[in-house]
């Protein structure tokens, strides 16, 4: 640890490691990705990228039930994928601490929606902590494990993009390096079917236990150390302040920035809310502001309790806050811009990297008049100019399944003109089940996997198709040909082509477009950035050879030896 300036994500990893975490798993997704990357390789902890968030959470619940403290990380939309085990893990409880990081993305910096996952904490009846800077991210991770064990519940740690990706100083280590404390529980699974086997009869009893736990949590929230009132120096404790602010997370830092003297109730535990503490604070200020990003969660609860406050009237529920927005909402003076450029600023859009191996596919699909059902990842940039080659994008894996839905109802002239395009990581995440659905239901469709050998959008994480696992140790990779065979996709409807062989790609697309039934085209190329990394660790040649071999043995039309 050569610097004390840590990002929020690095600080979560540090806090988890210090708290004796035994297992860390998750699925990469901006802005959550760096947490596991920072945790990987630290002594005494097993880390993995799981194939998707549902799998990660289930691995996590298993590990916790067997007695190991576990950290599961994902971005906000990942929680949607993991929602199924989440709601029931709330019933089973955890035994050893289970902390689920949800990294929300106000302003949609790199996401398809802006959901506020505090709603999940409420719906799943799981407590949630939300830090405001790196030191708190470190501390709250430990507090989350403790809360999890004390109340036998999964605990959410809510991060947001700004918190995950900003750096601030952490408190110095006791010695030269961070100290890891032993987790309180010894590993070992103790059978308890009434608690861990959620058949309806057992679950009904657990439902009551969850309610009881919630009541105890509500009580504990009143003096939880993560919540505090900051009363200005010099203002008598019994005075009524002109105005005060209730806030949490990164907006707290903006409030302190623009109104350093305002009384603040800072919530670190954002679910459940401490009713008495909130009421006490409200009684001490004339105007009560609630500064919260995205949904009016605190505001709605306050109003339901009959506590008057100013929230959405002053602060939009759309997008990320900034010191400027918070200052405006609180009616604080704002610095006026001093410079006004007289030249127009040229727009700069992100795009596929120049030379990205997969741009040709987009150009060709457009030339052939395909409706393109797209997916999450770098290739979502295919929607922008100069490609303009994507018509829909919903969530991980939806390219294949939406294409199936469209194909069911389109008029004859659009029949057979729908192609699904998906990356390799996303294909492993939730594309395979979509392909299986197509085969099983006897559907028609052209499915194109753009395999770039990595999970590029989030920064080059390995996946089940890239022959590596976390930490770049070698792993078997899924065999497309055997997968196709297992799914009864005939040889002449499967092709593997080299991404740089544009003529063959065009020929393959034309050939497959003319067929019916499920057709799978795998376009193998290496992401340029991943290629540079592989070169540095001397794995590039090997990987290229493996890919060339795939292309050689599974050419267009199934004419292989």
């Amino acid at each position: 640890m050569h610097t004390r300036l840590l990002s929020g994500n690095e600080a979560v990893a540090l806090g988890a490691w210090e708290a004796g975490v035994a297992v860390g798993c998750g699925y990469p997704g901006t802005p959550s990705t760096e947490i596991l990357e920072a945790l990987a390789g630290k002594p005494g902890v097993y880390t993995e990228w799981s194939v998707n968030e549902k799998v990660a959470l289930e691995v996590g619940v298993g590990a916790a039930l067997a007695g190991g403290r576990t950290l599961v990380t994902m971005k906000h939309v990942g929680v949607n994928v993991a929602a199924d085990p989440l709601f029931t893990a709330s019933y089973t409880g955890v035994r050893a601490g289970l902390v689920i990081v949800t990294a929300d993305d106000p302003e949609l910096h790199s996401s398809q929606n802006e959901q506020d996952n505090r709603n999940y904490a409420i719906a799943a009846k799981v407590p949630m902590l939300e830090p405001s800077d790196s030191q708190e991210a470190r501390e709250f991770t430990r507090l989350a494990f403790e809360l999890s064990e004390t109340f036998d519940t999964p605990v959410f740690l809510r991060m947001t993009t700004r918190l995950s990706h900003s750096k601030s100083l952490i408190e110095p280590f006791a010695g030269d390096a961070p100290q890891r404390t032993e987790a309180p529980l010894a590993p070992g699974f103790e059978p308890d079917p009434r608690k861990y086997v959620m058949i309806p009869g057992h679950a009904r009893a657990r439902r009551v236990a969850v309610e009881d736990r919630m009541q105890r949590l509500i009580e504990a929230a009143e003096d939880h150390p993560a919540n505090r009132i900051e009363w200005p120096d010099g203002l008598p404790a019994d005075a009524i302040a002109e105005f005060g602010v209730i806030t949490s997370g990164i907006p707290y830092s903006y409030v302190k920035e623009v109104a350093p003297q305002a009384p603040v109730l800072k919530l670190g535990l954002v679910h459940p809310l401490p009713r008495r503490l909130l009421a006490e604070f409200a009684a001490r200020v004339r105007w009560l502001y609630v500064v919260e990003e995205l949904d009016p969660v605190i505001e709605t609860q306050l109003k339901a309790w009959g506590i008057d406050c100013v929230g959405r009237e002053a602060f939009s529920g759309i997008g990320e806050f900034s010191p400027t927005i918070v200052a405006r909402g609180l009616g604080r003076p704002l610095p006026a811009p001093t410079l006004s450029p007289q030249l127009e600023v040229t727009v700069r859009r992100p795009g596929l990297c120049p030379g990205c191996p997969h741009d040709h596919v987009f150009t060709e699909l457009r030339r052939l008049g395909f409706i393109v059902s797209g997916d999450i990842g770098c290739y979502s940039l295919g929607v922008l100019p100069p490609y303009n080659a994507m018509d829909t994008l919903l969530d991980m894996g939806a390219s294949l399944t939406m294409a199936q839905g469209m194909d069911l109802v389109v008029p004859p002239e659009q029949k057979g003109r729908i192609a699904a395009v998906i990356g390799d990581s996303t294909f492993a995440h939730s594309g395979i089940t979509g392909l299986l659905n197509a085969v099983w239901n006897g559907r028609d469709g052209l499915y194109v996997v753009l395999d770039n050998g990595t999970t590029a959008m989030t920064g080059m994480q390995p996946n089940p198709l890239s022959g590596e696992r976390m930490g770049r140790s070698d792993a078997p990779s899924l065999d497309y040909a055997l997968l196709a065979k297992a799914m009864h996709i005939p040889d002449d409807r499967l092709a593997m082509v080299d991404a740089y062989d544009t003529a063959t790609i065009s020929a393959a697309l034309e050939h497959l477009a003319g067929q019916s039934g499920v057709r799978l085209l795998v376009v193998l190329g290496l992401c340029l950035i991943e290629g540079q990394k592989l070169k540095r660790i001397e794995k590039l040649d090997l990987k290229k050879t493996v890919r060339r071999e795939l292309v050689r043995t599974h050419p267009l039309g199934g004419q292989h030896e």
Binding site: L5, H165, K167, L169, T324, P335, P341, R349, L352, M457
Partner: protein, 198 residues
């Protein structure tokens, strides 16, 4: 120093903005100051604009610089300096690398960009690509720019040197330090004798 100093580092994905801002933030931390920084990831590597906010002082609350409060803008690209100009506070300094990276589909920038930047920022250092192309390898050009910008930064040179040792990728501390020194010298020379405006 009681006030907070706000530095905004901007450029295009892949230009090393994040490392530069890490070095700057570390230098401030090593000077005993409170530091916060904030940057954008994700789309950055695909040629989009990237930025990093670095704030240091006795106590820093927000990791984000309020609009109209930047004391210094360091730009790795001219249009990016123009894009972020509205963030400048009164009397802000700027430092930029005169090496345009045209966005996809754009042939050339509007005429008079250099003049406009000079008009907006009376305290300006402009680093010509030609002046560093040979002496500073591509990989450490960002550090040369940081060296140039350091003339406007209220931090000791020793802190930058220490920060470079801590943060430069393995084996590149010397190259980074050399680049920093080159940039610093160019900026000092330029501030002594005002450059002709092209």
């Amino acid at each position: 120093m009681s006030e907070v100093f706000n530095a905004l580092l901007v450029g295009v994905g892949g230009q090393g903005i994040v490392l530069s801002s890490d070095i700057l933030a570390e230098a401030a931390a090593l000077s005993g100051l409170d530091v916060k920084k904030s940057e954008i990831h994700g789309m950055s590597r695909r040629g989009g604009p990237v930025f990093s906010h670095v704030r240091f002082g006795a106590v820093v609350h927000s990791p984000v610089i309020p609009t109209g409060a930047a004391d210094l803008i360091l730009a790795m690209e001219p249009m990016e300096l123009l894009r972020w100009a509205p963030w400048a506070g009164p009397g802000a300094a700027a430092c930029y690398l005169a090496a345009p990276i045209l966005p996809v589909g754009v042939e050339e920038y509007p005429e008079g960009l250099a003049d406009e930047l000079a008009r907006l920022f009376p305290r300006l250092v402009r680093i010509e690509l030609a002046s560093i192309r040979r002496s500073v390898p591509l990989k450490v050009r960002n550090t040369a720019l940081l060296g140039a910008a350091s003339v406007f930064l209220p931090l000791e040179l020793d802190s930058f040197a220490a920060a470079i040792t801590v943060l430069a990728p393995r084996g590149s501390a010397e190259a980074n330090q050399a680049a920093f020194d080159t940039g610093r010298a160019l900026a000092e020379a330029q501030l002594k004798e005002p450059a002709d405006v092209e």
